[in-house]
């Protein structure tokens, strides 16, 4: 450990600067008493300290130093202006920063969606708003067509009217939307009767709907009591075209026609056109157009209801006042123009060409006048009479006139000789059995199939189908019966049912092509494959089977392999399987049976496929087994797996990289911008 004497400088300095503890100081002073050298050093140090203090005191910064620094700083970095400063201050808040980041992310997501073409989901308005909207619409509808609907028995109308009533009672009168001219117009029309409603609810609703209009508060009762008596003072100058359509279901068309004519006469109108068509089931359908004075339209419609069941009714008013008076004014102008042109012609001054020009102009003006006059006349006629289009339909319009029983049969046959059967079926043709289509197909591999269609008179059908079935093995037979209503739809009690011709579609294919009912595959291990395969063939022949195909091969390892595919009838299947046991050891037998749900099959004769593999064990270990082969395969597979995962990593990086780059760039730019602002 170093002594005080060795480190006297450090000790003295610490003493000088008051960094020694009480204990240390006494130790130091004890040493100074003992050691002359150190005492001298101490003396020198003290003197030097004094000089240093004195000298450096002059170098100390003056009291205004801080102020100078501050002033210099303010000078060099001027205070930011208000807006920028407040913005920068705002950006300093953590919550604002988080919000900004969130907003940017959201914007990115939206941008991505826009780029990828995905549609952003629109925020739906509140349920309440939607309902309110709906109510409002319904209310205005109810108000607009309130008259027509008042007496309607339509259930949904009742509901809608009920709603509109509720709303009308709740809503203050001033909240009535201004965009309902129809309502006001109709409400103001004195000829408007409120239908003597059959159901209490719609009546109340109509009254409620009226009550929404403040200036009509008292009107409903008045209108109800005396409909159609005073002519409209307000609509006197107005040109209104009123149109109505009604759809009625009636019992008798002629009765209805008579009544309509009578009603039209009562209300000072006339029947303009009628037309009617007779349907296949003897019912009549038609359309009547009635012209009637507008003020009598509503009573007339009222009367129509008595005719039958009202299916649909609309009432429309078209205001052509503006167009009418526009045309009227233009017509007057044109008259003045005409007069002036005539005057010009009468004075007869100027050149001939000028006169011709005037003549031409006069022609044009007159044509215009005629057009406008025609237009006005048309409007007058339209305004003078309201048009009511009535569609009439007798009840049970849709009742069918008759039923037709259509039968359609589908038959698939398998036979060894397709051509023969084809000819046989063709020979069946007679006036009652018509062959509509017969086709014999032979494809490139020599497979033959036939498709035939025939129409058979109903009384012969069963016999003919039976004959055809006996020609071969029936694989599938389907019969479809369809009852077709004629001249209408639905049920009729008195319509007759008739049997139509039976349509029969036949497909004949060779039984080779038939799918086996049962498929069996098995392996037989033996030492002499070739010989056993021959034996196998012989066995199959004996059991009435046929060899469909066979293969034989020998691989380099000395293994022999023979495949034999056999087809035997089901009845011989069991005995064949037994005899196979004599060939060698039967391994891996698997049986697959396909039962047709049709059920109409001849199981004993149905084909069964047997695929037999006869093989011998090779003597040499193949190249593909053994330790090195396994090692090679394992290495190859693992290399492949590594390559695959590398590729996947590459894909992931490629996928993420643009995002990372974009985000980094964004953050960098943001920081730069903020810095620049400060």
């Amino acid at each position: 450990m170093a002594t005080i004497h060795d480190e006297i400088d450090n000790w003295l300095a610490a003493d000088l600067y008051g960094e020694l503890s009480e204990n240390e100081r006494s130790v130091l002073h004890a040493h100074l008493v003992d050691c002359v050298t150190c005492r001298k050093t101490h003396q020198e140090t003290k003197t030097m300290n004094k000089i240093l203090e004195e000298t450096l005191a002059q170098e100390k910064p003056d009291p205004a130093f801080e102020q100078r620094m501050l002033a210099g700083f303010r000078n060099r970095i001027p205070q930011k202006s208000g807006l920028v400063k407040s913005l920068v201050d705002l950006m300093r808040l953590r919550s604002v920063q988080i919000t900004a980041v969130a907003a940017i992310l959201l914007a990115l997501v939206q941008m991505g969606r826009m780029i990828t073409g995905e549609r952003a989901t629109m925020p739906r308005s509140r349920e309440g708003d939607a309902n309110e909207e709906l109510f409002r619409q319904q209310e205005s509808q109810a108000a607009a067509s309130g008259l027509g609907r008042a007496g309607s028995l339509d259930k949904s109308d009742e509901v809608a009217a009920g709603r509109s009533k509720d709303l009308a009672l709740n809503a203050p009168p001033s909240s009535l939307p201004a965009s309902r001219p129809d309502f006001h117009q109709l409400a103001r029309m004195p000829s408007t009767p409120v239908a003597p409603a059959k159901v209490a609810q719609p009546e109340a609703s109509a009254a409620g709907a009226f009550a929404t209009s403040p200036d009509n508060l008292a009107q409903p009762e008045v209108a109800e009591q005396k409909p159609a008596e005073t002519p409209a003072p307000a609509s006197a100058n107005r040109k209104l075209i009123r149109n109505a359509t009604a759809e009625l279901e009636i019992v008798s068309f002629d009765d209805a026609m008579q009544k309509i004519t009578a009603f039209a006469n009562e209300e000072h109108g006339y029947v303009a056109t009628t037309n009617s068509q007779k349907q296949a089931n003897g019912k009549l359908r038609g359309q009547v157009i009635v012209k009637i004075l507008p003020e009598n339209l509503d009573p007339f419609l009222q009367k129509l209801r008595g005719l039958g069941e009202l299916k649909n009714q609309t009432l429309g008013t078209e205001d052509v006042t503006k167009a009418y008076f526009d045309t009227d004014a233009r017509l007057k102008n044109a008259h003045v123009m005409e007069q002036r042109l005539i005057d010009m012609l009468n004075t007869k001054t100027g050149k001939v060409s000028d006169l011709l020009q005037v003549e031409k102009e006069l022609g044009r003006v007159r044509e215009e006048i005629e057009k406008m006059q025609g237009e006005l006349k048309y409007w007058d006629s339209q305004v003078q009479f309201a048009t009511v289009t009535i569609s009439l339909a007798e009840k049970d319009m849709e009742e069918p006139a008759a039923f037709l029983l259509k039968e359609r049969a589908q038959l698939s046959l398998y036979a060894p000789d397709v051509e023969k059967i084809y000819d046989q079926i063709k020979a069946l043709a007679s006036p009652k059995v018509q062959i509509t289509n017969a086709q014999l197909n032979r494809d490139y591999s020599g497979r033959v199939s036939a498709t035939m269609s025939m129409l058979i008179a109903p009384e012969e059908s069963d016999a003919v189908i039976g004959r055809v079935k006996s020609f071969g093995r029936v694989e599938n037979f389907q019969m479809q019966t369809q009852r077709i209503a004629q001249g209408g739809s639905g049920i009729s009690e008195n319509a007759k049912t008739k049997r139509d011709k039976v349509e029969l579609n036949i497909t004949v294919s060779r039984d080779e092509q038939e799918q086996a009912l049962q498929q069996t595959s098995l392996r037989i291990r033996t030492s002499s494959v070739d010989e056993k395969a021959k034996e196998l063939r012989a066995l199959a022949e004996k059991q009435g089977g046929r060899v469909r195909s066979s293969t034989f091969n020998r691989d380099p390892d000395g293994r022999e392999l023979a495949n034999v595919w056999l087809r035997v009838p089901m009845k011989n299947y069991a005995s064949l399987m037994q005899s196979l046991n004599s060939l060698g050891k039967v391994e891996n037998a698997s049986v697959q049976r396909q039962d047709h749900t049709g059920g109409q099959i001849d199981e004993a004769n149905a084909p069964a496929d047997v695929s037999i593999q006869v093989y011998s064990q090779g003597n040499i270990i193949s190249h593909e087994s053994g330790m090195f082969a396994t090692l090679r395969r394992t290495l190859g597979q693992s290399a492949g797996a590594i390559m695959w995962s590398l590729r996947m990593i590459g894909v992931a990086v490629a996928f993420l990289a643009p995002w990372v780059i974009a985000l980094t760039a964004l953050i960098w730019i943001t920081r730069r911008v903020i810095r620049a602002k400060r």
Binding site: D9, L12, M48, N49, L56, K60, E66, M69, L70, V88
Partner: protein, 177 residues
């Protein structure tokens, strides 16, 4: 470091100008001491402090930890002072030329000259420690913190500084006694 100080540094880093002006008031003398310790010239030291403050304000976002703000400020001042020295290198050293003119009497000015040249002979770090001690009367611990020294290192530094100066000034001191 108490919490209010810490808060001040944090606010400064986040761009609070008032907080930074407060720091200027409290810390510029320390910075001056450091700069003077290196440069031994008041005007230059003042310039350095001014520059350092401006630079600190402009690059305040570089400081992540508010605790390190004062130390960082001192570092800037030191670097600035070094830059200053590098700039004035070509100019011949002032004190020596003047010092030779009046050497007969050991009066106060001559003593000053000798003291300055003794100071100039010290390593920079030693000089800075001395100025901090004499200007600001800081204790060892504060000086160590300011200069980024390890705990207890200053004791040796100041001891060596004083010893080396004493050796240089010994004739003058002897004559004074």
């Amino acid at each position: 470091m108490d919490t209010s100080e810490r808060e001040q540094y944090r606010a400064t880093i986040h761009g609070d100008r008032d907080a930074f002006e407060m720091i200027i008031r409290t810390h510029s003398r320390t910075l001056f001491a450091i700069a003077y310790g290196i440069l031994q010239n008041r005007e230059e030291a003042e310039d350095v402090v001014q520059d350092s403050l401006v630079k600190a304000w402009k690059t305040r976002w570089r400081v992540r930890d508010p605790e390190k703000f004062p130390a960082w400020l001192c570092t800037i001042a030191r670097h600035r002072a070094h830059d200053m020295i590098r700039k004035r290198r070509p100019v011949p050293f002032l004190h020596e030329t003047i010092g030779t003119s009046e050497t007969e009497t050991v009066d106060a000015t001559a003593m000053d000259q000798q003291l300055h040249s003794a100071l100039a002979a010290l390593p920079e770090l030693h000089r800075a420690a001395l100025t901090l001690r004499y200007f600001e009367e800081m204790d060892y611990r504060a000086i160590e913190n300011t200069l980024g020294l390890t705990n207890g290192a200053l004791r040796g530094i100041l001891g060596r500084a004083l010893a080396s100066m004493r050796k240089q000034l010994r004739p003058a001191l002897a004559s004074m006694d």
